[in-house]
């Protein structure tokens, strides 16, 4: 993956597949580190699956026997001397608080740090593909915070779908302006 935003797009699909109705994508930057968290309230993973989920030979896909989403993201973190961790609560055991939290920490100044890239495009593509999910996006930087909650947009839009072309365009511009506002 050439950009971490592509890993985010990929990993968030796992949350979609886990039937989450709320997915949070939280980015937090300091001068040294970038922390990416993807938090969902989907079905969660059982302990034995969670233990091997970073293994490329673990996958839920039926088309072949390797799954590289989490291993690639983990590698991207580890090559900057960072790391990736996952905690999960399966719905069978935690009927009221199930979900998965994935956290990856990157050292931004490391030579092998992959740039974040076009994260706005990742957010708009996720909303375009899954307009019924509540997407919460927040990017804290040293200069300020950029955020979006599709629930607020839905309150304005009523029965106009979030994935209407004009709305997706507006969301992209809205985020772009927030970033230029804080001078990111």
């Amino acid at each position: 993956m050439k950009e971490l935003s592509l890993n985010i797009l990929d990993i968030a699909q796992n949350s979609v597949k886990a039937r989450a109705d709320t997915i949070k994508i939280l980015l937090n930057e300091t001068s040294e580190t970038l922390t990416i968290e993807i938090i969902d309230n989907g079905c969660g993973m059982k302990k034995d699956f969670l233990e091997c989920v970073s293994d490329p030979f673990t996958t839920t896909r039926t088309t072949r026997k390797v799954g590289l989403g989490i291993p690639l993201f983990k590698l991207a973190a580890q090559q900057t001397d960072g790391d990736l961790s996952i905690s999960s609560r399966h719905e069978d055991e935690f009927p009221d608080s199930h979900g998965t939290e994935l956290k990856a920490v990157f050292n931004k100044n490391h030579l092998d740090f992959t740039p974040l890239g076009d994260v706005i495009s990742t957010v708009t593509v996720l909303i375009q593909g899954q307009p019924d999910i509540r997407w919460i996006y927040e990017h804290k930087t040293q200069k300020g915070t950029v955020s979006l909650d599709t629930e607020e947009l839905k309150a304005v839009l009523g029965d106009v779908p979030l994935n209407t072309f004009e709305v997706i365009g507006w969301i992209g511009e809205y985020l772009k302006e927030q970033y230029s506002e804080i001078g990111y």
């Binding site: 797009l9 990929d10 699909q13 072949r64 690639l72 076009d118 004009e166």
Partner: protein
């Protein structure tokens, strides 16, 4: 700065169209968005289709959606086009430029762009 008021204006404008659109999509453009597709460049391909469909004013009859791994990772980005009463068309090794061309020739003009399909390998 973009405001929610502006979004409300979009809503007003769109509301009439939405009624028209429901259930009337004849063509479905499906972009593979699993790890393999994303790594190969599916994100800009999807955006190119979304923009082209709107630019060519095809939103009433074409919907652009996403799917997981289609199973032919070596040919990603892969795009499948489903049309009622017709055979599925699979386009492979897609780029935003090819997407634009396919939107014009296939989605608008009704002619499959043979050179980009899987049957042409």
């Amino acid at each position: 700065m973009k405001s929610l008021a502006e979004l409300a204006a979009i809503k007003e404008k769109m509301q009439n169209k939405v009624v028209l659109r429901e259930g009337s999509s004849d063509i479905r453009v499906v972009v593979g968005m699993a790890t393999c597709g994303i790594a190969a460049g599916a994100r800009p391909v999807l955006n190119a289709f979304v923009e082209a469909v709107n630019g060519l004013e095809l939103s009433d009859k074409v919907t652009v959606t996403q799917t997981g791994c289609i199973g032919i990772c070596q040919y990603e980005p892969v795009v499948e086009i489903f049309e009622a009463g017709k055979e599925k068309v699979t386009y492979i090794k897609m780029t935003p430029e090819k997407a634009k061309e396919i939107a014009e020739k296939h989605l608008k003009g009704g002619n499959v762009v043979g050179e980009y399909t899987i049957s042409n390998i």
